[in-house]
């Protein structure tokens, strides 16, 4: 009976993970397929990668994506951290208000957010492109930074901050020498998360992209409409590796911090 249950569990989990990862794996696999069609396997090739790198539009979209993601991560890290640190000094009612307003962009459907930002930036007469992309991505990234830094701040004993002041530090010196070093790992982890989220975003980026500045996911999406070539598989494989790398890095930082404690 027991062995039977265990056997069933193994089968179930195996099927579950096959279902979860087979599509992803097949994309990786077919990016090396010599045939144009996914119907047959005709041998290994790196042609699609070669084509990918010679496609000016894709390389440009990739460049835009990276620039936007880096700027978004930087801007969100700065804004989110400041908001979290400042909330140390506000009343508890104010803190609840800040918390609520911070979460709001995460609750509003992205489609609605995209439309409203479109109107807003239009009214502001901002040219659509890298600037609008960074601003809109930061909108949904800042809350993550705020939440993660805030959580870390809550772990810090209040008397540690008080003793810094007591020993002669000004408020700003205390923030610089005590608070920021203590929350730094959380800021880095949150920034990496922002990087990944910005690279992945399609919906808001679709609204925000300018005529000559499209992000990679938006470009891939439009490529799909014209017809799938294995080039897309190659591209997806690279994006996959990139994302894994970023997430892995942030995990590593989190674990290292846990060990340090």
């Amino acid at each position: 009976m027991k062995a039977k249950t265990r056997g069933f569990g193994t089968v179930y989990l195996s099927l579950f993970f096959v279902f979860l990862y087979l599509p992803v794996l097949s994309v990786v696999l077919y990016s090396f397929n010599a045939s144009r069609s996914t119907a047959q396997w005709t041998g290994w090739t790196l042609d699609w990668y070669r084509q990918l790198f010679s496609d000016r539009a894709i390389v440009e979209a990739f460049r835009v994506s990276i620039v936007v993601a880096l700027l978004t991560a930087l801007l969100s890290a700065v804004l989110g951290t400041f908001a979290a640190v400042i909330s140390l000094w506000v009343t508890s009612r104010m803190k609840t208000a800040i918390q609520g307003m911070m979460i709001l962009p995460l609750i509003v459907p992205e489609v609605a957010l995209g439309v409203s930002l479109l109107f807003f930036f239009n009214a502001m007469r901002l040219p659509f492109g890298v600037l609008t992309l960074v601003l809109s991505h930061s909108l949904f990234c800042v809350p993550y930074v705020y939440i993660m830094v805030r959580l870390r701040l809550q772990e810090i004993d209040r008397s540690i901050l008080e003793s810094a002041l007591d020993l002669g530090a000004s408020t700003w010196q205390m923030v610089r020498t005590i608070i920021l070093p203590l929350v730094a790992p959380s800021i880095v982890t949150a920034a990496l998360l922002c990087l990944a989220m910005s690279l992945d975003d399609v919906i808001i980026s679709t609204y925000m992209s300018g005529p000559r500045s499209t992000t990679l996911p938006v470009h891939v999406f439009s490529m799909m409409r014209v017809g799938v070539t294995p080039k897309v598989n190659a591209l997806c494989t690279l994006i996959l590796i990139g994302t894994f790398f970023i997430i892995g890095l942030s995990q590593l930082i989190t674990n290292k911090r846990r060990f340090a404690k």
């Binding site: 008080e162 810094a164 002041l165 002669g168 530090a169």
Partner: protein, 368 residues
Amino acid sequence: MKQPLLALVNLNKYYGDVHVLKDISFTINEGEFLTLLGPSGCGKTTLLRCIAGLERIESGDILLEGASIKELAPNKRNVNTVFQNYALFPHLNVYDNIAYGPRMKKSLSEAELKKRVVQVLELVQMSGYEQRMPHQLSGGQRQRIAIARALINEPAILLLDEPLGALDLKLRKYMQTELARLQRKTGTTFVYVTHDQEEALNMSDRIVVIDQGQVQQLGSPREIYNSPANLFVTSFIGDRNIVPVRVLEVGEERARVKLGEDSVLVRSSRTNGKALQAGEEAVLAILMDKMRVSCEEAENALRGTVASIHYAGSQIRIEVRVADRILTVVEYQKMDCDCAVGDAVSVTWEDSGAILLPKEDGWEERGF
């Protein structure tokens, strides 16, 4: 007369509607070890935080060497605090923790600083620990580093907020002597907060007993132990039997009071301004270990019957029923008589062990 180092003048503090410090006024002399003693929630820690500048006061003033410091931020006051949980900076090693104060104030060059850190580490007997991180230290070691980190600033006053609270009993005893040694050696004025009467009696030059945000008594450990000013101090310090009595007659320093059938002559409170009147209700407090039980009739004694006897190592606790009250007697040597439960006995005490105080409203409800 020499000017006091620190003077608190009619200090008041509110948390919302709660009046936590009420008209606190006293002075602290240079070089003394002063303890703020009181039960938890009495306001002693709040008072310490007001002196440190971590809390604002609503009215009154704090004068350090004659100058008001009440408007100064904590980093501008020449006082330093040792927090209950040490509050070492977890990301800095021992050296950087201790160097923090002088570095923030840029008061020393790195070379001088290094010399000073070595000095204070030696003072707290932690030489060679410069490179350790706080989480690699034991509780007692962290305590020493926290003290060193404060002392390197050469504060006019060192404030200590229940610094031994988190340590185990043995270490606590050891650190008591250690703190007293540090205080003598550096000559720094210590203001020490505790709820532990033994700690306070042991280390202090003077004790300020605080309850419900008010100073109840200020004096040397001896004065406070032997001549408590009021019922609260009487019940909070020393183990005493506290019973209501009726005053029969009042003399110069003594009064005759009646408990049950017997009347006895006892020492009357001198510190309290209000004089007792004959016929009035009062409260008699007697130190348990100044009492004796005897089998024969005695002078100036209360008669009762033995309710129970407990042997606890070196001491014997005897509970005697007198009128409708139970009095506890603690004897250290052999008892005067071999009494058993139910025997009729007389209870006597050393004159200095008993004190008569005026009754206060609601004293029984407060659990005195």
